[in-house]
């Protein structure tokens, strides 16, 4: 850990827009986590304070931050050591969580789901820190197992990927997804950025903010979910009774991106997305459009110019023929004709890796009872209850 990472490298690579850099002055970015005094000089028991990329972290004293590893709309993430177990973890701070109820509910949904999930290809949530004050906490600190990077970074890097890499990534993704689907969970936002990867090629699915149970609670699912490039045709066309097949489509898009090192359907908006899909798959026969329940949408698909499409072997000439065959079966326009996760694992491309005896289903189907109309007091209460699962000793103290 004494080696300092080169945090910023000047490159001639073109960047989007007309933003450009001045002289590189990122000295502050090189700093590791810094222990600081608590705000208001009130030092609560069991907590200590670190500044990480100028963000204040109020964390349990058993965790010692090492360095920042990422940030985005969700907040800041830093690697840390759990001094009690000597285990490396990633701590994610989500600041001002109640400012945006949509984001708060997404986080809450993830907490509820991850508490039940135990699978080597799904990220483990190890802890949710207890805030000092139930009634006024604004930040949430989530502790995950630490992974090195994500598949998006791998794909866009120059790192070579062999056929074995591609196969192993796909296998792990399908295996994790099989577990989720057996628990009646649709991920609904599978994309390379949501697949965490280690140097040894281990892969784990993360970000369950849009996940849902598969229609068990009979909710009318009107949300438009899944990052558009990975969105299945039935979602784009507003078919209400979608199921596990939407995740399979996303897997197909991801696999194509692994093979081709760029997105296969980078649509600029919904109609363009559909045009791109048809331009690759080819015009669809009438019998393959019966799943579309919206007359206007069906008419639109039929009105697109005729095309025979492009065979995947032309798009990915270096790929294993069995991989091409599997990809073809995953990226089927009609969800009723699309391969299932189990069938994909049994496909010849995967067969040498898949042993059903080693992949037990989830213990019980998981149900979520999250109401999207909850106000802050209820959301706050639900967060607190999730935290109590990781800190049962706090329940009696606050009762």
């Amino acid at each position: 850990m004494s080696k300092k990472m080169g945090l910023l490298r000047i490159g001639s690579k073109k960047r989007q827009g007309d933003i450009k850099r001045s002289k590189p002055r990122c000295r502050n970015s090189k700093k590791m986590a810094t222990l600081v005094e608590p705000p208001n000089r009130i030092k609560p028991k069991g907590k200590h304070y670190y500044t990480i990329w100028q963000t204040l972290f109020e964390i349990d004293t058993k965790y010692v931050p090492i360095k920042p590893i990422g940030r985005g709309a969700y907040g800041v993430v830093c690697s840390s050591i759990n001094r009690e177990t000597n285990e490396k973890v990633a701590i994610k701070k989500i600041g001002n969580i109640f400012e945006n109820s949509i984001d708060a509910l997404r986080t809450l949904r993830e907490l509820k789901l991850l508490r039940h999930i135990r699978h080597e290809n799904v990220i483990a949530l190890k802890d949710v820190m207890m805030p000092i004050h139930k009634t006024s906490f604004k930040d949430v600190y989530l502790v995950y197992e630490l992974m090195d990077t994500d598949l998006h970074q791998i794909i866009k890097s120059s790192q070579p990927l062999s056929n074995d890499h591609c196969k192993y990534f796909l296998f792990q993704l399908l295996r994790g997804l099989k577990y989720l689907h057996s628990a009646n969970i649709l991920h609904r936002d599978l994309k390379p950025g949501n697949l965490l990867v280690n140097a040894n090629c281990d892969l784990k699915i993360c970000d369950f903010g849009l996940a849902r149970t598969n229609g068990v609670d009979g909710q009318f699912m009107t949300e438009y979910v899944v990052t558009r490039w990975y969105r299945a045709p039935e979602l784009l066309l507003c078919c209400d009774n979608y199921g596990t097949s939407i995740d399979v489509w996303s897997v197909g898009c991801i696999f194509a991106e692994i093979l081709g090192r760029k997105p296969i359907f980078p649509g600029t908006e919904c109609l363009n997305q559909l045009k791109l899909i048809i331009s690759v798959l080819g015009s669809q026969h009438e019998s393959h459009l019966e799943f579309i329940d919206n007359a206007k949408a069906r008419r639109f698909i039929k009105s697109l110019p005729y095309t025979r499409g492009r065979h995947f072997s032309q798009l990915y000439p270096q790929a294993d023929p069995l991989a091409i065959d599997l990809l073809q079966k995953m990226l089927v326009f009609d969800p009723t004709k699309r391969i299932t996760v189990l069938e994909a694992l049994q496909h010849p491309y995967m067969a040498s890796l898949y042993d059903p005896r080693c992949d037990p289903p989830a213990q019980v189907p998981i149900s979520l009872d999250i109401d999207e109309h909850w106000g802050e007091p209820m959301i706050r209460e639900m967060f607190w209850n999730e935290m109590l699962h990781y800190h049962p000793e706090a329940a009696s103290a606050n009762a």
């Binding site: 080696k3 080169g6 910023l8 490298r9 960047r15 007309d18 933003i19 450009k20 850099r21 590189p24 990122c26 000295r27 502050n28 970015s29 940030r71 985005g72 709309a73 600041g95 001002n96 400012e99 945006n100 109820s101 949509i102 004050h133 009634t135 006024s136 090195d148 990077t149 970074q153 890097s157 062999s162 074995d164 890499h165 196969k167 192993y168 280690n198 140097a199 040894n200 090629c201 849009l210 009107t222 438009y224 899944v226 990052t227 558009r228 490039w229 066309l237 507003c238 600029t268 908006e269 919904c270 109609l271 919206n294 206007k296 949408a297 639109f300 067969a351 040498s352 042993d355 080693c358």
Partner: protein
């Protein structure tokens, strides 16, 4: 299982686990901006010059574009330490809006907070700041007051004029529809703003909709968030989750054709249609594809001729021409009969706005904010206390201990003397206010009478009980577990009469009475 184990052995590591993955990829967010010493964020744009944003506010460092050579450099000092930040008043797809009081001027502002670390939002922010920086105060456009960066949350905050009424979307939620004479008067002013954006600033708004058309209690309608969508246009964020089920996008945008000012006219027409009829004219709950296909393929929506005036129908129809080239400009629409029809009618916009919004809750919120602000000044540090003079006018009166003090200087001197007494010999601890009870009622047309009572305790900061508006940085009273009776050193009662100044969001204490008991 043997197949899997064999594969694992064959796999070459993706990267050296000790070194971690290449930092130039991993730390992508650093790519287009740098932190200089002291936590300043430099946002760079070839077209827009260099903006330097830190806790002290937005400073424009260099002007390179030809347009700007005639102007001196502009600095907008509106730093985070000068703000009292209260709770959120709205949350959009890309930002959160909060109320704040700017301490030096005691003005209530709206703060739009944007996460700077999202690469996709930088351009959006640059566009908005540039527009706001360079547009003078103009009828029909929300006014810009500055910007600053908050290190702890990693957000850039843009300070905007506080529109104490709300948005047309808020009105529609409560009122269902807005009468034509009101709409005529409102849209005339909005068209002035849009005409300015198009004709003088050469900007396409891109996100005209009822939620971005705001009103204040004076009845002034204004457009906000201009420029907000520009940055989203080519960003990855646009590929993200489709937020909401309604779009005000014009047909040419949906077709991915080039578009310009007429796209805003289309959106304005849809907004007017919705405000007048109480309904968005397309079916929105069958998904975005269906919605877009309706806009492309179906005839443009038209108000029912037997329910709306010919002028209203004509205005809407003109805006909703499918062909952008046949839509009138904002300038031309200012001469449309729907707009000119009510020119001499003296429409009472202020009266309408007041009749729509519940005055009670707004009054309570205002009283909470002003009370918290006053006592944070009184019990706060000396450098902030100096700003208190601005709270009083020449005719303000402060009564204490049987004496009356008039005018800012006398009142400030008297209050400072009381303040010194309360500080006593215990720094950093002193006697501070704990507001236990707050009552308010309307005073005159826009003023508020506030009656406060509570205790003095030994501490280091002001506290307030109850469930009113919370301010950032002040601990919640419930969390502290303080037993007031046992700590009470004295009791105070204070009354304020507060009246608005001519500037929206600014208030003056015109009368103040303080009673202290041991």
């Amino acid at each position: 299982m043997s197949g899997l184990e064999e594969l694992r052995k064959k796999l070459a590591p993706l990267f050296d686990a000790e070194k971690g993955f290449s930092s130039s990829s991993t730390l992508d967010p650093c790519d287009s901006y740098t932190f200089s010493d002291g936590g300043t964020v430099n946002l760079l744009s070839r077209s827009y010059g260099v903006y330097n944003i830190n806790e002290l506010g937005l400073q424009k460092c260099t002007s390179r574009s030809v347009d700007e050579t005639d102007h001196s450099e502009k600095t907008y000092r509106c730093g985070s330490h000068e703000m009292r930040i209260f709770g959120a008043i709205g949350s959009g797809a890309s930002s959160v809006v909060q109320r704040a009081i700017h301490i030096p001027t005691h003005r209530i502002l709206a703060l739009k907070k944007i996460n700077i670390f999202e690469k996709e939002k930088r351009q959006q922010l640059l566009t908005e700041i540039r527009t706001l920086c360079e547009a003078p105060c103009y009828e029909g456009l929300v006014e810009f007051h500055g910007a600053f960066y908050t290190p702890d949350s990693g957000q850039i905050s843009i300070a905007l004029e506080y529109m104490d009424g709300g948005s047309l979307a808020d009105i529609l939620r409560m009122h269902r529809r807005i009468p034509e004479p009101i709409l005529s008067s409102m849209f005339q002013k909005l068209l002035h703003g849009l005409s300015y954006l198009h004709g003088v600033r050469h900007l396409v708004h891109r996100d005209i909709k009822p939620a971005n058309l705001l009103v204040n209690l004076k009845g002034e309608p204004k457009i906000t968030d201009f420029g907000i969508s520009a940055g989203l246009e080519n960003s990855v964020a646009m590929c993200a989750t489709f937020v909401g089920t309604v779009t005000y996008m014009s047909p040419e945008r949906i077709r991915n054709e080039s578009y310009s000012y007429p796209a805003d006219i289309w959106s304005l027409g849809l907004a007017l249609f919705e405000c007048g009829t109480g309904e968005f004219p397309y079916t929105a709950n069958e998904g975005p594809v269906n919605l877009m296909l309706q806009i492309l393929d179906d005839p443009s929506p038209s108000p029912l001729k037997n329910k709306f005036s010919p002028e209203f129908c004509s205005f809407v129809d003109a805006c909703l021409q499918k062909d952008p080239d046949t839509r009138p400009t904002a300038e031309q629409l200012l001469s449309h009969p729907f707009i000119t029809k009510h020119d001499d009618a003296k429409v009472d916009l202020a009266g309408f706005v007041r009749s729509v919004f519940d005055p009670t809750q707004r009054l309570k919120d205002l009283a909470d904010m002003l009370t918290i602000h006053y006592y944070l000044l009184f019990d706060g540090p000396d450098d902030l206390w100096q700003h208190t003079k601005n709270l009083y006018s020449e005719s303000s009166i402060f009564s204490f201990s049987g004496k009356q003090h008039c005018g800012p200087s006398n009142i400030f001197t008297s209050l400072s003397s009381i303040r010194t007494t309360l500080v006593g010999d215990w720094p950093p601890e002193k006697l501070v206010h704990v507001v236990e009870r707050l009552q308010c009622r309307a005073h005159g047309e826009d003023g508020v009478a506030i009656r406060v009572s509570g205790s003095f305790i030994i501490g280091n900061q002001f506290l307030i009980c109850g469930d009113g508006i919370q301010v950032e940085g002040l601990p919640n009273f419930k969390d502290l577990g303080i037993d007031i009776p046992s700590k009470r050193m004295g009791i105070f009662h204070e009354q304020f009469i507060v009246e608005p100044k001519s500037l929206i969001g600014c208030y003056t204490i015109v009368k103040q009475e303080l009673y202290i008991n041991q």
